[in-house]
């Protein structure tokens, strides 16, 4: 099995996208799911928010030259709701984002993001509002995301963040891909399968 690098801290400039309930159709529109690989996703991130129907830029924050190398996305509440498409966190990662800080996350998105090593941290309402304002005001603002200590810092301010321990522990250990551990449970899996009556049709 491949080993993964621990995800302990992420530092860099940020893009803030205020607004709640950003769904995965916005993050990556369904037409870009017509593919048998994940290779093209980075450039398609938030495509319809960024470009008009003739492909001209709408001046979206993601396309501000000063934020071209941003590695932290700051979003609102219930980020990533809707479709289960893993293309959404993968598109964020391929576009260079290494962490998402938001008010809260939809569950399937959160699991998919954790599974590809993209940490998702939640902030309290007032802290998120302050961080969002700071990021909007200064494209060069360095945001530090400490996954291990669950703190987000920027511009001399530091905020306590939340993340379920089941996700935090695997990110900082680099064991966020559970496949090898699941494979180790094969004998017990087969016992449960037999107890549930599976295998009779084999």
């Amino acid at each position: 099995m491949r080993a993964f690098d621990p995800v302990k801290t992420v530092s860099g400039t940020a893009v803030a996208l205020p607004g709640d309930d950003i769904d995965t159709d916005r993050i990556i529109p369904a037409r870009f799911l017509k593919a048998v690989t994940f290779d093209e996703l980075g450039g398609q991130l938030f495509f319809d928010e960024r470009f008009d129907e003739s492909g001209r830029t709408k001046g979206h924050p993601l396309d501000e030259p000063a934020r071209a190398n941003a590695s932290v996305l700051v979003a609102g509440v219930n980020f990533g709701c809707g479709s289960s498409r893993e293309h959404a966190p993968r598109a964020l990662a391929r576009a260079g984002f290494r962490a998402v800080v938001a008010g809260s996350f939809a569950e399937i998105f959160f699991g998919n993001a954790t599974g590809v090593g993209l940490p998702c941290l939640s902030l309290e309402h007032d802290d998120l509002r302050e961080l969002t304002a700071a990021v909007l005001a200064d494209p060069a603002l360095e945001v530090n995301v400490d996954v291990e200590a669950l703190r987000v810092s920027a511009g001399g301010r530091s905020y306590a963040a939340r993340m379920p321990e089941s996700a935090r522990s695997v990110l900082v250990a680099g064991t966020y891909d559970p496949l090898s551990e699941l494979l180790q449970g094969l004998d017990q899996t087969l016992l449960v399968a037999a107890r549930l009556g599976h295998g009779a049709r084999e």
Binding site: C81, H87, A106, L183, G185, L186, V192
Partner: protein
């Protein structure tokens, strides 16, 4: 007697393989449903790792998202769609996974195929790389959507790493009024609890209304659990569940039947079991409901004014303003009278036999309004055949609906069925997200199939009870 348990407790306990290092549970998955959009990368990962599908006989595949519904001729006009169906056919053949291909008589939206074939059974765990897997909860299954990496995990190990959610019981008691459908019930629940109200919870739907619902109605509600933030929702299995499953292809045979039924019913929540939350809704309070905004929680009763930015809190205002601007609507007025361009009957929420039977009852002798493009897309080849046997296709076509082949169609427009420009669609589907129906400026108004029919014949969003002369009960 032991502590009373919920269905969630019982399914979790019987399917727990072991505890994982991070505190999650390794959970056994009875049934893995696969479709063409979220599986090719998972099969490729499997190959890269030198792994096989552990239980191909617990895995079932069909093709639904990308299939055209106006023609089945291959190669498809869209070469990428052809590549995706080809990849799925190759993967299922290589791994001996049962596959319900186009033309098999069993193809359809994956969440219709499972129940129709009796694959979906009470007390089981069911996953699929699709958020609307929650549909299968109608049978008392724990069924939820997963990402592509998790599809790989289930293919390779028939298990998943998962945390057990909290449980909220949602009771709807009393009797629904005339012209009020299962779709209205779930839209009303989402409006009441919010699109994120269910995050961290599983929903148990109960009460008089669910007890008297058909399986198809229960599926409509469970389907949209995820739109309320709950990864899954279920209805406890009962005689209705058992009757639905009898005789279906993958249902237990006669010799095993009685034991299977006893086992299924034993999974139902015990009286007195613990819930983390209980919500009680009066059926009489559920109106015909339509969305006005950009998520399924932004809805109103058909005769109720939609919100104005000045009526809502400062926190909600930007979302309301964005939604009204995108939808081209003015706050403070009801949705009735809003002109529609397209009427869409379809999707895993509402494309079952009973949906088309009910719509046909009202469309007999009526015509789709000039200028409205109306399409009816059965969710499965089986529903299509059943409708055609009963002449329902003729009624719909005579009324001016196009009668299509089975697929996801305009619910998410990964096929040629798309809105164009800022067309407004009266839709029986589940998501009114910006751009969802294929045009970035397209507009979606979610509603029950009968309300879609009413909008189709009048050309505007309408109260179906008035259009079709359904008598309103006098409220007590």
């Amino acid at each position: 007697m032991s502590r009373p348990k919920s269905l969630l407790d019982k399914v979790w306990e019987t399917h727990a393989v072991r505890d994982l290092a991070n505190g999650q549970t390794q959970l056994f998955i009875d049934t893995h449903l696969v479709h063409e959009v979220t599986s090719p990368q998972a099969f490729a990962m499997l190959k890269d790792l030198g792994l096989n599908v552990l239980m191909p006989e617990r895995t079932f595949a069909t093709v639904d998202h990308i299939v055209p519904t106006h023609t089945r001729a291959e190669p498809f006009e869209d070469p990428m769609a052809q590549e995706m169906i080809t990849a799925l056919r190759r993967n299922v053949a290589e791994h001996a996974v049962p596959f319900f291909d186009v033309g098999s008589g069993n193809q359809g939206i994956v969440h219709m195929v499972g129940p129709e074939l009796g694959i979906t059974q009470p007390g089981t765990t069911i996953v699929c790389g699709d958020s609307h897997t929650s549909t299968h909860g109608a049978f008392g299954a724990i069924a939820f959507g997963i990402g592509t990496r998790e599809v790989r995990d289930v293919l390779a190990t028939q298990t998943l790493a998962l945390s057990k959610p909290k449980l909220r019981r949602i009771e709807v008691n009393g009797r629904l009024g005339p012209g009020v459908y299962a779709k209205d019930v779930v839209l009303h629940i989402i409006r009441t609890l919010g699109v994120k109200g269910g995050v961290g919870y599983a929903y148990e739907y109960a009460g008089d209304v669910f007890d008297s619902m058909s399986m198809e109605e229960r599926m409509t509600v469970c389907n949209m659990s995820v739109e309320g933030g709950a990864r899954f929702g279920y209805v406890n299995p009962d005689a209705t569940t058992v009757a639905y499953l009898e005789g279906r292809r993958y249902a237990p045979t006669a010799a095993e039947w009685d034991a299977a039924v006893q086992s299924w019913l034993s999974f139902g929540s015990d009286t007195g079991c613990e819930y983390d939350d209980v919500v009680i809704i009066r059926a009489e309070d559920v109106p015909p409901t339509v969305t006005w905004g950009l998520n399924p929680g932004q809805s109103v009763a058909i005769d109720e004014p939609i919100p104005s930015p000045q009526d809502v809190s400062e926190g909600e205002r930007p979302a309301v303003e964005e939604a009204l601007a995108h939808m081209g609507l003015e706050g403070g007025r009801p949705m009735t009278g809003t002109r529609i361009d397209v009427a869409f009957l379809g999707s895993c929420t509402n494309a079952r036999l009973s949906d088309f039977v009910e719509v046909a009852r009202f469309l007999e002798g009526r015509r789709v309004h000039p200028g409205v493009k109306a399409i009816a897309v059965p969710g499965s080849e089986r529903v299509k055949a059943e409708c055609e046997q009963r002449g329902i296709d003729r009624v719909l076509q005579t009324a001016g609906f196009e009668w299509r082949a089975a697929g996801c169609s305009m619910c998410l427009a990964m096929n040629p069925d798309k809105l164009v420009g800022d067309q407004l669609c009266a839709s029986s589907s589940n998501r009114n997200f910006k751009g969802r129906q294929g045009s970035p400026t397209g507009r979606t108004v979610l509603m029950s199939p009968v309300m879609v029919a009413a909008a189709a014949v009048t050309g505007v969003v309408s109260d179906a009870r008035e259009v079709f002369g359904v008598r309103r009960e006098v409220m007590a």
